[in-house]
Each structure stands twice: as C-alpha cells, then as structure tokens.
Amino acid sequence: MTSTVQTASAASLSRPSAPPARRPGGRSGTRRIRPGRIVLGVVGIVVSLIWVFPVYWMLNSSLLPNVVLQSTTPTWLPFGGSLDNFVAVFSGGTFLPALGMSTAIAIITVVFCLLFAFLGALAISRFRFRGRKAFVLAVLLIQMLPAEGLFIAQYKLMGSLNMLNSIVGVSIIYIAAVVPFTIWMLRGFVAGVPADLEEAGMIDGLSRTQAFMRITFPLLAPGLVASGVYAFLQAWNEFTVALVLLQDNSSQTLPLWLRGFIQASASRATDWGQVMAASTMVAIPVIIFFLFVQGRMTSGLVSGAVKG
C-alpha cells in the first residue's frame, strides 16, 4: 500500500508542470494529456480501490451465505448473494433493542446538545462579556480531553447517581462531550448572520422574538442541521464511554452489540456473513449522514490554520 503511494508522489513530484486541474483562472487551454498524467491517474485509481476495499468487502460478505465464506478461496463478487444475512440479524432478537437504545441516546444527545450549544454560541458571538475569553478557552480545551482520561470517574459518578446502564446517564456524558465542539461550529454560523438584519426586522415592527424566529433562525438552519448531524454521529458511534457505563447485556448500544460478535469470533466459528450484515446496518445511516457534514467538520477543525 505504502509503496504504491510513494511511487505516486515520486511521479507527481517529477512532473511539476502538470497544470493542476480545475483551478479557477488557470490556463486550461494549454492542457495536454501526457503519459505521466496517465500513470498518475492509474496510480490514483489503484489507491482508491485499495482504500475502499474494506468497505467493499463488508458489503460483499454481507450478501454471501456462510457456506461460501467458509471456503478457503475468497469470493470476490457477490453473485448469487441474497439478503438472508440481513434477515437473520434482524430476526435475531438482539438487534432491535440495541437499535432502540442507540436511537434514544442519539436523539436525546442531539436535542439537548443543539439547545445548549446554540445558546452558548449566541453568547460568545453576539456578546462581549467578562469571562467570555475563559469560556472560549474552556470550550476549546475540553473538546481535546480524551474520554479515556475521565471514564473511570464518570463511571463512579453514574454509579453513585444510580444511572449505570441508563439512557439518561450515557446521554449526559455524551451531551457534555459534544457540546464544546458544537458551540465552536455554531459560533461561525451565528456570527455569519448579521444582527443588523434582525434589527431591520424590528424597525419594521417585529418583536425581538419574532425577528429572531423569522429572520435569524431560518438563516441558521443549515448550521443547526450540520451540528445536529455531528452530534448524532458522535453519539451513534461512541464506544469507550458506552463500554464502561453500559455493562448490562440488556442495555447495549449498537457499537457494543457489534463488539459482541467480535468477542464471539475469538472463541467459536463466526458467521461472518451475519457479522458483516450487522456492520453494514450500523454503518449505512452513518455514511449517509456523514457525507452531509464532512465539509463542516474539516473546516471547523482547521479553519484557523487554513486562514494562516
């Protein structure tokens, strides 16, 4: 894998004059197809295939019956495949409770996280107040704290509140974990809506609340959606805190439920077709949502750096 990539860059470095494609203002008229560019293109395709292979293999295996997967020669294409594995996982009895658990936790996290983060973002982007800098600093520092550095204490906290294995207990930890970055993300959106606009509405006779609901809120909607999806993904995918706080088999979230398959594979012959079907079902909503927010997440993390 590495060697292909290195070849690629060596090739790209030795061909400096290749005009970077689609750059606005670039002289596209002089572009010619040169052999080096074709080699690079081939390298690019090969690298893409290698990178996407695990995802493809998950889909492929999820469609194949276990008999086929048990053979020593791999089956590369899912011809003759079926959705039997998905049906089996669905009717297995443990998937639906885990799905319910994950959905409940994700929804609670999204709703409260958006509410708290929106108010916080409003405060730091619309007001200059004493303690604002400390708050921003805390928000930035907290989002860097690793779950692994706090989970033992959170486990004790939830134990003493009698909230181990409870939806509310995990949700509280998730909201706190996601709120800082969400405030940071929403801050940019709130700052992007000029207060003048709201004030103009108020001059035209709207109350402050009306001006906010009719003018500012619709302009913020994309930001709220992006932040909401981000919070959803975090809650949906989270593993570490769930592992510590939800030790009871009856209160597993989807990641814990999937882990059960991994553990089982250590001791007995695994039905990999079903495991891959299960993984696919967990992954598909995430992949769809992820494509929505991916740009925002990158820009939120490095926008300061790109600005230079």
Binding site: P20, F129, A305
Partner: protein, 314 residues
C-alpha cells in the same frame, strides 16, 4: 468534495462582533446550560479523579471503609513501576509512528489529488470519504474479518501468491499486533489529513508557481519556498491533532485485544486505565494514570487551542 469550498468559504466569514451594551446578564444566562452540563459530566469527575488519585483504594475500601489520604504516593508507585514506563513508551512509540505514517501518506494523497484528472480525484475522494465515514466499531469488525486467521482474505491472498500464511495469526505477536493496529488507524485517519492538506494546496496560486518556474525555480525549490510555507499552518495543526488523537487510541486496541492477544503485552495508556479501573477496581491507580494522560493531552493541546483562540479574536 465540498471540503475545499467550505474551508475556503469559511476562510473569511463576515465578522459580526458588535458588542451590545444592554442586557448585561443575558450572556451569562445563555451559557448556564452548557456550563451546567460540563460541570456535572466533566468538572465533577475531574475533581473526584484528582482527589481519588491521592487516596489509597484497597480491599477494605471496597467494603465501605473511608479511603486513606496518601498525597502523591500513588504517583510515586506508578512512576517507579517499570510496567507503567513500558506502557508509556509503547503508547508514545505507537502514537508518534502512527502520526508520522498518517501525515506522510496523507500528504502524498493530497499531492496525488492535486495532480490527477478531476475524475480520478473524485474517485479518490469518494473512496476516502467511505473509509472516513465508517463507524469505528463496524470498521473493526471488517478488519477483524479481513485478517481472520482461518478464513481471512489477507491470508488467502498471501497464500495464493505463494507465501506461507495459511492460518497465520496476525494478532499473536505483540509487534505484529501493533502493526495491524497502526494500519487500521492510518486507514481511518488519512482521509481527514489528505482532505485538509488538499484544501490548503488549492490555496497555492498557480500564477505564483508559474512565475517561479519561469524564473528558473526547480521543483524542490518551489516545494520548499512556496508550497510548504503556505500550507505549513495546516500541516502543523493536523500533525498536532494526529498526535493527540493517536495518543488516546482505545477502541481499536481494545477490540483487537478482544479477538485474542495477551492484554498485558499490548496495553496502551487507554486500555491500561480500563484494566486498572474496570478490571481490577483500583480506582486510585486508575485515576493517577488518567490524570497523567490528561496533563499530557492538555500540554499537547495547548498549541492547538492557542491557534484557535487567535481565530476567535480576529
């Protein structure tokens, strides 16, 4: 695909920093919910952890005795324990190697994306997005299936091309275990690195590069004196984030340990805390290691936070 546009679009947001004089208590009311939840879920545990790390938690405490206050004894015990140093060294080595490999491959991917035809670039971006989007536990089940010693496709392919990898267990040997973990972490992290650096590269103006070329600058000179200085801030931030993220790696290690390897030989800091706290209920020691990890993270994060603060002030 949309990254660069969004990053660039965000690069110069309309600033709206009009201070409002009236309603002095309003901002404080607005931050109450966020502060409240942070204090409950992070602040209180942090304080508890700090205090607990200076207490002794033994068997009698498990039966309800109040813990004994021992100041920094736990830290002394911890840092005189050779196993702790093994874990720290292992974590640092894993973190630095993984971050370096991720940065190298990510940079090469970004350069590749910048050099190829747009159809190829979009193919690359789609496959990396799919890898990036995979939930970590789902990705781990897939990787476990790929390297499964009985029926895994990796062993089949390697055996197929004439190497003897029949029933080879990749997770039995600690070194091979960490190489597998590194490959998985790199696979997941490269997309973020590549997309961010690519977004930086698109800011390097073609005109400047062409002018430099006309003036006789060689490729390495253009790379050194034009491209790298322009994308250096992005590179620095991303490298820092990678180091911080790779230092705290837990899920991948934990889930690979599940499949079968001796945990004590493959523990990193995260799994060590888990083993101390959840496995053997030694909350004092677990807290001490946690505090160590937190201090390390905050120290490393400081540069990142400072650069973000600058953005807030602008």
């Amino acid at each position: 695909m949309t990254t660069q546009n969004l990053v660039l679009g965000q690069a110069d947001p309309p600033r709206q920093a009009r201070p409002r004089k009236k309603g002095r208590s309003t901002p404080y009311l607005l931050v109450i919910p966020a502060c409240g939840i942070l204090i409950l879920a992070l602040g209180y545990p942090l304080v508890w952890q700090f205090i607990t790390s200076m207490q002794r938690f033994g068997l009698s405490q498990q039966f309800g005795q109040p813990p004994e206050f021992v100041w920094f004894d736990n830290y002394v015990t911890l840092f005189t324990d050779p196993y702790m140093w093994t874990v720290v060294a292992r974590s640092l080595a894993f973190c630095l190697v993984t971050a370096a490999v991720t940065m190298a491959i990510g940079t090469l991917m970004a350069l590749l994306m910048n050099a190829v035809h747009s159809a190829v670039r979009i193919t690359l971006q789609i496959s990396m997005l799919l890898a990036w989007a995979m939930p970590v536990v789902a990705a781990m089940t897939v990787w476990n299936w790929l390297i499964d010693w009985r029926r895994g496709v990796l062993n089949s392919v390697l055996t197929g091309i004439g190497l003897d990898f029949q029933n080879h267990n990749w997770l039995a040997d600690p070194l091979s275990f960490f190489v597998v973990a590194m490959v998985i972490v790199v696979w997941m992290s490269v997309p973020f690195v590549a997309f961010s650096i690519y977004a930086g590269l698109t800011q390097v103006s073609t005109e400047v590069l062409e002018a430099a070329q006309l003036d006789g600058a060689t490729l390495s000179q253009r790379l050194r004196f034009i491209i790298v200085p322009i994308i250096r801030p992005v590179l620095a931030i991303i490298l820092l984030l990678q180091v911080i993220w790779d230092l705290r790696v837990f899920t991948q290690i934990r889930l690979l340990q599940d499949v079968g390897s001796i945990a004590s030989e493959t523990n990193l800091l995260g799994t060590y805390i888990y083993q101390l706290g959840v496995g053997s209920s030694d909350f004092a020691m677990a807290s001490a290691v946690s505090i160590f990890v937190l201090v390390l993270t905050v120290a490393l994060s400081w540069f990142y936070v400072r650069s973000m603060l600058k953005e807030d002030e602008s």
